[in-house]
């Protein structure tokens, strides 16, 4: 495999864009990434587009019609919440394999106010199991994942709420986040309950958004930048057989498998990371991923947030962007956007929220059902 560099990266502030369609959002992000890389669309040899809810609508090709339909290969990727990050990984392999020298990955989604409850659509409602035989909606599934941690280790709702507090404080400093208002523990704990133990401020909002990156081979990258960000590892796993999965989705095993693979490929350990952007669709998800990414020992996730070690300035800053809890979670854009965030930090371009001296960062996404991606980036 060849070394692959990220040379261009950009994203739109996540939020609501009712006046624009998703292709316009994606095209805007793509143009911004091309500009950042110092190239034009005619230099791009392959485009990988991630979009979930319009995965049958050829979003990738429609982006090209907006910015320059050059006739190069375009692939459309969908992989639940890991859609954008899987599109990124396809782009990575296109260059790493030696087949292409300059490729672009774009992630986009337009969700409006649909919420993350999921389900619905088609069929006879008489056969809907929601609220009749337990739950399959996202807040419920991720609530159960957090409650499992409570059962195993005595973790409290207050500890989980502290993750929501951290996300809101970090989000205050990120101009690309949808919500930028800090909240204290009382506000997070007293917000209305969506699915206990997660209250409203422990659940990410859905949003519209787009992000794009330009990847190049090492030789090509030299022509355009003196400060490439290297992709040290790009892991993708699916959920292997475990006893309760998928009655109770196992979001842990595949994340641990991906983390082990990524650390091994990159030749580093979790102690070498300067920052992590992980998939905090709910505060309970961030809690379990502290351990799944080996940022702390087994059962120590509650202690890690109690001691504020995952704040910017702590031992291992997590989601200094404010995470999905502050940024919002436009599904197809999410996995590209968290790569963009890490790139900005490694280039010392992250403004007020900059992680000082960041040299190595990890971006993690999980799509339920399940797919897990982990990218390790370094300078």
């Amino acid at each position: 495999m060849r070394d692959v560099a990220i040379v261009g990266a950009n994203m739109l502030q996540f939020g609501r864009y009712p006046e624009q369609d998703v292709v316009q959002l994606a095209a805007t992000a793509a143009m911004a990434a091309l500009k950042d890389a110092g190239i034009g669309i005619k230099d791009v040899e392959l485009v990988s587009s991630g979009n979930l809810y319009q995965s049958n609508a050829m979003i990738g090709q429609r982006i090209m019609k907006e910015i320059g339909a050059t006739g190069v290969p375009v692939i459309n990727v969908s992989n639940a919440c890991a859609t954008g990050s899987t599109a990124f990984r396809e782009a990575y392999y296109a260059v790493a394999s030696g087949a292409y020298d300059v490729v672009m990955a774009v992630g986009s989604e337009q969700m409006g106010k649909m919420g993350l409850l999921g389900g619905g659509g088609g069929g006879d409602r008489a056969y809907s199991t929601e609220g009749v035989m337990g739950t399959g909606i996202m807040p419920g599934v991720f609530g159960q994942a957090g409650v499992e941690h409570m059962r195993k280790y005595g973790t409290t709702q207050e500890q989980i709420a502290k993750i929501g507090v951290k996300a809101s404080k970090h989000g205050e400093l990120n101009p690309y986040a949808m919500y930028r208002k800090g909240k204290d523990l009382e506000e997070v704990m007293n917000a209305r309950v969506v699915a206990w133990p997660n209250t409203l401020y422990m659940c990410c909002p859905t949003s519209d958004g787009a992000a794009a990156v330009v990847l190049m081979s090492a030789e090509k990258a030299k022509q355009y930048t003196s400060k490439p960000v290297w992709i040290a590892a790009s892991a993708l796993t699916s959920d292997p057989h475990t006893d309760r999965n998928p009655t109770m989705y196992d979001i842990n095993t595949l994340t641990r498998n991906a983390a082990k693979q990524a650390y091994e490929t990159a030749g580093i350990g979790p102690e070498d990371l300067d920052m992590v952007e992980l998939h905090d669709c709910f505060a309970t998800a961030e809690l379990v991923h502290y351990e799944n990414l080996f940022l702390c020992g087994e059962g120590e996730a509650g202690k890690l947030i109690d001691e504020k070690e995952t704040y910017n300035g702590g031992k291992i800053p997590v989601n200094v962007s404010g995470g999905l809890l502050s940024k919002g979670h436009p599904l197809g854009a999410t996995g590209v956007a968290n790569v963009v965030e890490v790139v900005w930090h490694l280039r010392e371009q992250a403004g007020e929220r900059q992680v000082k001296g960041a040299k190595v960062g990890l971006a993690h996404v999980i799509g339920l059902g399940s797919a897990c991606t982990i990218q390790i980036l370094k300078v």
Binding site: G131, M133, T135, V141, Q144, V147, H241, T247, M248
Partner: protein, 146 residues
């Protein structure tokens, strides 16, 4: 009216891994699935091969339930339109060695508590609605055993 036009009303399970006996409700509905006799794994509903070891020949159909214990839960306060909230959404480990999702009754949803873990529960079934063709739809629920 021809005889074919008078469709016989059926009693259908809400999910494919439940079965409703012909003499329901005299005989209760139950969960079923496949057991792999090569590795011992158990699954809900039909499988073409064992999801754990890939065995394709030694799969047998087995019946599960009704007893088990509450592994974990979430309390759902916000759901899709028409769903009554709050409710306790449990993951139930059946004594037979498989897990199922279920609403758990007999617990106060406003007071989630660590002592709910491991509570003994028993499955029962109910006709919960009628589908578009007028067939009864049967779902499984769980009640805490004191």
């Amino acid at each position: 009216m021809t005889q074919e036009a008078v469709a016989e009303k059926k009693t259908n399970p809400i999910v494919s891994f439940m079965k409703v006996p012909e003499n329901y409700p005299a005989e209760d509905a139950y969960f079923w699935g496949m057991k792999c006799s090569a590795c011992g794994s158990k699954f809900l509903g039909q499988r073409l091969a064992c999801g754990k070891c890939g065995e394709t020949e030694k799969l047998e159909e087995v019946k599960y339930g009704p007893d088990g214990e509450l592994y974990v839960f979430a309390v759902i306060h916000q759901s899709m339109p028409g769903v009554e909230v709050p409710f306790v959404a449990g993951i139930i480990d059946l004594d037979d060695g498989v897990s199922v999702r279920g609403n758990v009754y007999g617990l106060d949803p406003e007071k989630p508590d660590a002592n709910w873990f491991g509570k003994r529960v028993k499955m029962y079934s109910e006709v919960i609605s009628q589908d578009r063709e007028g067939n009864d739809v049967v779902a499984a629920k769980f009640k805490v055993q004191e």
